[in-house]
């Protein structure tokens, strides 16, 4: 592998970088670097040796040229809300943070697209176009803080991706600074493209191809109206059967979200959203589209839910009731913080029809490892998010939490699913990649990555495990010995 960088990042290198970005954009003292040692995945920690906070693609390009010449690996970071340790430095001494590059450059309603710098916050895109009746569809729970650049790296989803698709379906074009400092434009403003979809190859690459600095995104028209239903069930089985019933009836709601009892209680303690504490599970089902069709659709969905065993189906009467339901859902992860000092949010996918099965399996795993695991997830697309509660001060419990998470993923794969719906592989799931991909698959991916990053200096030691070993672990990074 490439140089560890420790020796390469000498004072001459720092001086060169300082000359590019300026004093106020360089962080080199340990107290300040400390806060950059983890993102939303807090199980592993490792601080960069140097942090750069550039303001433009030109600065990033100049920086990467220096790093390229000096053979120093780097790791990009947006807002640090990722959940798989995607911006954890592993053998990458320099971190480059895009949070200052947060301008919305152009809004084009006629062509329904917006051009932004990669450090723009996801929700700020929607805020900028809401007045005109548009929104940016991918809406991860962290949308109030996460950046578009981070969304592109992780190919983020969110509740409304069932109907509208994930990030890659909304990125038309990209500007990326390649690891040698060259600025490349991939894709473009046109909806139809010739040739290979190179922008598509970058979305979901988790920062291993370079640093995305600009993106052209699709805007989506706000639906004319919405109907938001809360279906209440005695258990998760009936709730998840309802999901399949709705989809196979030909209805595609804007979102179908499920919360189980543990989550309902946490959310009620936090927000008093009016969810029934005695329910075993609830579904939030949102129908959107042309007003004339919605009432009949809502009635059909309610009927399907009742037929599957819902004890009650409520319709949000107004915008404030709808907002309360979504607030409860979007902030459920944080509300769980009230139940335990730490939690790990897992992210896996199973075919929709096997949701009842995977939830039974998760319950069994929780039992086996003596852990509490809650479930709140995008049921519509089978993207599960078991939340494993633990206390990091208890080393054994922490170890069990990690093990249980792994076992859940293995179960997902065994059921024909996948390792991640939207959080990415990062460092968290590298070891599980061979569960899905053969060595040949991994080699092909590795070769694709080398097209952009021949020396593998962009976010090294991520996503693709080094051949021959299950996972390459850099010495100091693992806080928890497995």
């Amino acid at each position: 592998m490439a140089s560890s960088g420790n020796s390469a990042l000498d004072s001459a290198a720092v001086a060169e970088l300082r000359a590019i970005v300026g004093d106020d954009a360089i962080v080199s003292r340990p107290t300040e670097l400390k806060v950059y040692e983890c993102d939303g995945w807090t199980i592993e920690k490792s601080a960069p040796e140097l942090l750069l906070r550039p303001r433009s693609a030109a600065e990033i390009s100049a920086v990467l040229k220096v790093l390229h010449r000096r053979e120093i690996p780097f790791v990009p970071r947006g807002a640090g809300t990722g959940l798989s340790g995607g911006c954890l430095p592993v053998g990458a001494p320099v971190m480059i943070c895009t949070s200052r590059m947060n301008r919305i450059l152009a809004i084009d309603y006629a062509s329904r697209r917006v051009e932004v710098e990669s450090g723009v916050v996801n929700l700020h895109v929607t805020n900028a176009v809401r007045e005109r009746g548009f929104f940016y569809a991918p809406d991860p729970s962290s949308q109030m803080a996460c950046t578009i650049g981070g969304n592109i790296a992780e190919n983020s989803g969110g509740p409304h991706t069932l109907k509208y698709g994930v990030t890659t379906n909304h990125v038309l074009g990209l500007e990326i600074v390649l690891p040698d400092g060259e600025i490349a434009e991939l894709g473009g403003p046109a909806e139809e493209r010739l040739g290979y979809d190179l922008a598509g190859a970058i979305v979901g690459a988790e920062g291993t191809a370079g640093i995305v600095t600009r993106a052209i995104l699709k805007l989506t028209r706000e639906p004319e109206e919405r109907r938001t239903l809360l279906a209440i069930f005695a258990g998760v089985g009936a709730a998840t059967r309802t999901v399949s019933a709705i989809i196979s009836a030909g209805v595609i709601p804007g979102a179908i979200e499920m919360m189980d009892r543990l989550i309902i209680e946490a959310v009620e303690d936090a927000f008093h959203a009016g969810l029934p504490r005695d329910a075993g599970a609830v579904l939030i089902i949102e129908l959107d589209g042309i007003a004339a069709a919605l009432d009949a659709q809502a009635a059909e969905v309610a009927e399907l839910a009742r037929a599957a065993g819902a004890r009650e189906v409520r319709l949000a009467r107004d915008e404030s009731e709808r907002a309360a339901l979504w607030k409860a859902r979007k902030r459920a992860f944080g509300a769980v913080g009230r139940l335990a000092p730490n939690y790990a949010t897992q992210d896996g996918v199973v075919p929709r029809t096997r949701l009842p099965e995977i939830l039974r399996e998760i319950a069994a795993i929780a039992e086996r490892y003596s852990l509490k695991i809650g479930n709140v997830f995008h049921a519509g697309d089978g993207n599960i998010h078991p939340i494993v509660l633990y206390d990091e001060r208890d080393a054994d419990e922490t170890r069990r939490a990690i093990e249980a998470g792994r076992e859940i993923l293995r179960a997902c794969v065994a059921m024909g699913g996948s390792l991640t719906g939207e959080h990415g592989i990062g460092v968290e799931k590298m070891a599980e990649m061979p569960l899905i991909f053969s060595p040949d698959d991994l080699i092909v991916m590795s070769e694709l990555r080398r097209v952009f990053d021949p020396e593998q200096r962009a976010n090294p030691n991520k996503v693709i495990p080094a051949p021959g070993s299950c996972v390459e672990v850099a010495a100091p990074r693992r806080q928890v010995v497995l």
Binding site: S11, V14, A15, R18, D23, V27, S28, R29, P30, T31, E32, K34, V35, Y36, C38, D39, G40, T42, R53, A79, G80, T81, C97, S99, R100, N102, G119, V121, L123, H124, S142, M144, A145, C146, A270, R331, A332, F333, G334, A335, V336, G337, R338, P341, N342, Y343
Partner: protein, 435 residues
């Protein structure tokens, strides 16, 4: 600047690497799950876009200090000092982190353990010995009033050192005559009672808002009780980590306010109201005062809520384009956002125009604009931009600190937009006169 890590500051010279365990209530730290949803709610993060200037970053820093993983060096101090204590992050936080409590405790620790450079100590001593005492502030301002009468403020401003100019700008030129609300008749003894705590700075610089708060309450049918021996609420001491004197002030106020059992308690300064609402916590460990302090805190209310409860009416219309600024401790501390807006909308003729980032701190934050002028200036510029973009003629708010801060910036820009406390605006709307 040298490329090597800076190690010249006094605090860095002898790093305290032993764990600063007392710097936070350690159990409260575990409420934070490091999700980062607070980032964009934090004014300093919005400006610097650096993790160490975010609530999540500061909490991480406090934990690292408590664990002894980092030293309480100049960098740590810098980022803790830069926090405005606006508590915007508490509104954003899904996990219920009590950030205000964390940072107050950290500041108290810093106050006890870090010796500041002489100039900073002098500045803090001046702030602490003048602002909580309206008489002293009046004496200090007398010469400025004389200068104002001679019309020599612009000259003085030019001659003043750059660092003093922002301080000077905060002091409004002599107040124009303001309408005052006159209650028709004294309320009956059976009417619900309300007592208004007169804030220190408002009493000296913005007296009308205290009178109009009382006037509006009386006009709505409240029996307004006058507080006799009111002292500073203790906000400045709390924010500077001087818990001892904050408790002294709290005890004096609890003693006084306790005599009006059952009355709604409020201050024209929502910053002070939020502190009054925290007396229960502040004096929890004081066996003599704990119960009374809890009772006082439970009675704390807000002007717009009280007025809406009594169907406050506006016989005449008042055509005006108005925007509303959420004062931090009213919105994030007391959770009052909708009520002032509803009250404003109920005035016939008033068009309420929402500004962007209405609940992002204006930089006033107690004495923050005196201790961190650069960041305060940056934030008030942003606020003024957002206000101007609405096209409103009035910006209405609920805290004198914000009023001074925002008015100063708008004056510097030559903007004609008037900054008014909600009570003063109600007086104006009731009088129907556009003055």
């Amino acid at each position: 600047m040298a490329t090597a890590p800076k190690s010249t500051s006094a605090a860095n010279a002898a790093p305290r690497r032993q764990p600063a365990r007392d710097i936070v209530d350690y159990e409260l730290l575990f409420d934070c799950v490091h999700c980062g949803l607070c980032l964009e709610s934090c004014p300093t993060y919005v400006v610097t876009r650096a993790e160490m200037d975010s609530p999540r970053g500061r909490i991480y820093l406090m934990k690292a200090l408590a664990d002894g993983a980092v030293a309480l060096d100049a960098d740590a101090l810098r980022h803790l000092d830069l926090c405005l204590e606006c508590r915007g992050c508490e509104t954003a936080c899904p996990s219920g982190v009590r950030y205000g409590k964390l940072i107050e405790r950290a500041r108290e620790y810093v106050n006890r353990n870090v010796r500041r450079p002489p100039l900073e100590r002098l500045r803090n001593w001046l702030i602490a010995s003048i602002f909580p005492y309206p008489e002293r502030l009046k004496i200090l301002l007398a010469p400025l009033r004389a200068i104002d009468r001679l019309g020599m403020r612009p000259l003085m401003r030019r001659l003043a050192p750059a660092g003093m100019r922002d301080w000077l700008d905060l002091i409004p030129p002599r107040a124009a005559a303001q309408p005052v609300i006159q209650a028709a008749a004294p309320a009956a003894d059976s009417a619900p009672a309300a007592v208004v705590h007169h804030g220190c700075v408002a009493r000296t610089l913005l007296e009308a808002e205290n009178r109009n708060t009382e006037g509006a309450l009386a006009a709505a049918g409240y029996r307004v009780v006058r507080m006799e021996r009111t002292v500073c609420c203790g906000a400045l001491d709390l924010h500077h980590g001087n818990f001892e004197r904050a408790r002294e002030f709290a005890r004096a106020n609890v003693r006084e306010l306790g005599r009006h059992g059952g009355a709604a308690i409020l201050s024209a300064a929502s910053g002070c109201s939020a502190v009054l609402a925290a007396y229960g916590d502040l004096l929890a460990g004081d066996p003599e005062f704990a119960a009374a302090a809890r009772a006082v805190s439970a009675q704390v209310a807000d002007l717009s809520t009280l007025l809406l409860r009594r169907n406050f009416n506006f016989p005449r219309g008042f055509p005006a384009a108005v925007t509303y600024h959420d004062s931090c401790h009213l919105a994030h501390g007391l959770g009052v956002r909708e009520e002032p807006r509803r009250l404003l909308r109920s005035i016939p003729g008033v068009e309420l125009l929402e500004m962007n980032e209405s609940d992002l701190c204006c930089g006033s934050a107690g004495s923050y604009n005196l201790t961190e002028p650069a960041m305060a200036r940056e934030l008030v510029r942003r606020k003024a931009d957002n206000i101007a973009a609405t096209g409103a003629d009035y910006v209405v708010l609920g805290n004198p600190g914000c009023e001074l801060q925002i008015a100063a910036e708008l004056r510097r820009r030559g903007e004609k937009i008037r900054v008014m406390h909600l009570a003063d605006f109600l007086a104006l709307a009731l009088s129907g006169a556009d003055i």
